[in-house]
Structures are given as C-alpha cells and as structure tokens.
Amino acid sequence: MEGSSHDDFREFVAMRSTALLRLAVLLTGGDQHAAEDLLQIALMKAYGRWARVEQPEAYVRQTMYRQQVNRWRLRRHHAETTVPVLPESGGEAGAGADLELRIALWAALGRLSKRQRAVVVLRYFEDLPEAEVAALLGCPVGTVRSTAHRSLAKLRALVPELKPDGVAEQQLLPLGYTAKEIQG
C-alpha cells in the first residue's frame, strides 16, 4: 500500500473506529473483546482493498454484518468479557420497571444466535427495511423475515414481560427452559 493510502486508512480508523466499535458491541451482544476482534477483521479486509473501496464505512459495516453471521466461533478470552450497562432512567413514573425490562431484554439479546442478533440490530437499531437487510447479509428477504420472527419469539420466551396478552406462559417456552430457570 502506498504511503498516502496508508495515511488515509489511519485517518479513517481514527475518525470512525469508535462508532464502528459501538455497532460491533451490539452485534456481539455486549462482548467488547469480541467486538474489537470483529472490527479488526473488517478493517483488515478493508485495508487489503483500500484503493478499490469507494465507501469505506459502508464496506466495513457490511463486512462486520456478514462476518458476524458467517463466523462459527469468536476467539475471545472468556474471563475478560465486559458488558456495557444500560443507562439510568430519568426518574419518571414507572421508570424502574422499564429499566428492569430493558436489562432483561438486553440480557436476552445476548442469548440470540449471531445471525438472529445481526438481523435484530439491522432491523431495530439501524431501522433498515427487510429488503436492505437481505441485501446486506446476502440472503433472501424471506430468511430475514423468518429470522426476525424467530428472534422475537425467542426474546418473548426469555423475557416473560413480552408475552402476548392472554397467552399461557407455558406455551411461550419452546426452548427447553422453565419459567423459573429463565427468571432466576
């Protein structure tokens, strides 16, 4: 790589790496070490094609999404996992219950598969339509739809507060857990 391109790459990383790392943290369910690993892999790919990459940020984001969906194992040091905490609520009425729900939901998001979490982040954090998610991940729209559906079903099974009104609790637990285990 020529000197000027090398400098461009460094400048891009300096400017955008924190934003990209935050996205990676969501994709990895809050594991910052895994997130750094994911971002490094995406940046390595971008660095190798730097002269041909027209939109570096879009390229790195897409690489992270696909990498997260395709990779079968994150190499990480299990003892060093750090999980960002949810922010304190502003003290409004009912804020305590809301915060508890968010904490439970964030924990449940961490239990989704990598593919499910990528779809959830793209749909509900990036607010992308299903067709764009499918294009980013390189899969059919139907797969995105079914993955999102299964993800929400799993979240409902893991967080009892999300259950549909009037549905018996036992019917919502198809994952082999009992309600007591999940709440504990």
Partner: protein, 448 residues
Amino acid sequence: MTTERVEEKVRETLHAVALDRVRAPGDLAQQVVRRRGRRRVSQAVGAAVAVAAIAAGAMLGLGGGVAEQGRTARPAASPAGWHPWQSGVAGFGERGCLADGSALYCSGSRYDIAKVDADTGKRLWTVKVNGEGDGNDHPFAVRDGVVYAYRNHTAKHQPNGDYAGGTDLLAVDAATGERLWVAEMPQDDRTGQAAMLIDGAVWANTPSVRTMSALDPRTGAEKWHHTWAKDVVCQRAVLSGVPYLLCTPDTEEVHDTDVFRLDPATGEVHKVTTLPGRQQLVGTSEDRMVLAGAQDTAGDSLQLSTIDGSGQRTALPGRVEGHAANWTVVGDRLISVSWKGKASAYSLTTGRTLWTGPVGVMMPARDLGASLASPVASTRQQVVYFFSPSGDLSGLDLRTGKQLWHGHVDTGKPRPGFPATPQLMLYEDVLIARNGSGISSFLPRIGD
C-alpha cells in the same frame, strides 16, 4: 404485549445501551496492519494443514527415484471385518473426526467425542457436548488408551452457567468414554499447535496465551511449564517427542526467528539456532521441520527450508508459489494445490519441482471460506488422495502426479456455523470422507 410493542422495546433497549463508554483503542490502525501482516504470511503457507502434515509425514517414508516411475498402483485391500458404510446422523461429526486404527473419534454439535467403529460405522460411546458444539475442532490425538479433544469451557461467572467463550482440553478413556481430566485453555485456539503429544506428556497452551505446559497424560497435572516474553509469538512443533518453539517478535516489521528446544522431561530450554526472517512452520517430515519464509508480508512466493533438531538448516533452491489452497508434507514431498486446481509436488531434499498437473477435483471458490480436505497418502499404494467440498475425489500417483482414480461421494453439505472444509482420512487403504455430518467409508478400486 403486541408484536409492535415488542419491536419498540427492542428498539429502545438497543438505543439505550451505554455505548458512550465504548471507545476504540488509539492504536487500532496499527493493530490492524500488524495483524494483517501476520495473517498473510500464515495464509500463504497454510498453517492450518500442519497437523495433517505431521500425521502424513510420520506415516510415510518415500524412496522415490526413476525406477519406480513406471509402476502401477498396488490393488487396494480392505481390512478384515470392514465393509462400506455411510452415516448422515446430525450431531456427531460436523466438527471433524480423527481416524486411529479401527476407531474413528468424531466431534459434532451434540457430542464432544463420539467413538465409532471404523469397520462398521457403529457408534460405540459418546461424550455429550458441553454447551454449544460449534467449534472447528475434533479429537486431535490418541495414545496409551487416552483420547484428547476439546470442548467449550463453562464460564462460572455467567448467569445459568452459559458458555461465554473459552476452551477446555479434555482427556477421555478410549475404551469407555469416561472423562479422565479437563484443563482450561486461555483462549479458543483449537488448531494443531494448541496442544500436542510429547514424550511422557501433553504439551498444551495453558494456563496463559504465552505459556506451554507439559501435563501428565493420565491426570492432567502440570509437570513443568515455559512462558515466553511479552510481545513475542511462538509457533510450536514436536520432533520425535521433543518439543520446539519458533519465536519471533510480534511486530509489523519482519524479524529473525529463534528456535528453542525444550527437554520433554524437565522443560529446560536450549536455544538451537536463529533463522533469517519470519519463518512459518508448514509441517514436519521425519525428524525435520519444514519451514516457509516470506521476506515481506505479501507472501506471493516463499522460500522453503528444513531444519533438524540440532539446528542444521537446509535452504531449498528456488521458491514456491504462495497462496495455495492446500499444503501438505507427505514424507519427503511437499504437495501443494493452487486455487486453479493445479497440484504440484516439491522434493524436500533437492527443492526441485517433481511434478505438476491437474488435481482432478472441482475446486471451491476462493472467497467461500472452504477448501479441499488435507490430502492423504496411502503408503502401500503410493497414491495421494484429494477430496473437494463438491464430493469429488481424485487419486494421483505420488511419484508422477498421474491420475489413477477418481470418484464422487455424496456426503451432503456442512451446516451453517460449522467448518466448510471437508475431511479425508485413511483406514489402511480404505478412505473415510467427511463433509458436514455426512461420513462415507469406502475402498477406492485402484489397480484391480
């Protein structure tokens, strides 16, 4: 709660995560450039095939020479009691298998180890998976009635004891499947250099990433350990039961490689030699390590050399093409396959190219993450076999590169999340081909 409300709660939660505390390290660009440099050298020489190379190298001692070139392959013979079998049961083979005589030890999504009778395909015993069975790993050695494998480590600090990354080294009684001991590894490295057998011990990368420990094979108790300096990376090799470290500074610039020999009984370290440049271990051939050196990080062409246990280095004349789809050391030969389907054999004694020709199987696309299985060679028949993810098989004459046999086996496809590269193993002259959870055992009809 309605689906719309659930979606809204998910949105709120994702946006409420305290990401403002997350900051990228200041030297990230430098880390990326350095990591990429290491990876390119590693990819060029196919470090992942080192384990297969060691197994094949130990198995074969080739004479070679002009007199043998006109010979045809000997007829394939099946072991007594063997008959062809096929298995497609999900859960016990996706991660890979190890063939050891008439036994096959496999790992899959449901079992960390499943012992299979290689004669019949019948399952003998299983060790249930610990957490998720999603690794690219399989039992890596069997010795003195003990099987050594990996499993996911159960993190104690996680709610419900969920898997949160990490690996255990697992020792199991080969006769019964009874667990003997478990040792926690410091990272998820399950490649060929994570743990190896040395004289009287299992030499494993534990308890830290910069430490190799000799563990008692029956109890897992530490006999000795060796830790190297910070900012140094060390490759590991074993020659005739003696452990060696090849160490180089962990920097973007290319530095020389120091070779150390460790006493397998005490761990005492002796510096053997210093090699020029960054050397990548390709495999071992009898009592020699086969190394590929790249003077830059591109790795387009590589300088091969061998080094014996005393540090005697032989630089092979000429350079070989880098970025191969597969590299394997077979006796005195290095077999490489290019992504365009060209197989080449190089002599590790003279450095000369012995033959080049079509590998005879459909090559996978380079960017799909899959490659050919590591080739295996039949000692008796002098045939080297190749297996592609498409199910194609090819047998080339090890002496001339001429295709003697080709076949096809439908083993299915790997499940998403599991290794996309298939596996080929030998049980005497019988081939065992695995792709995903599909396993086929059959006799290639050569020389009939």
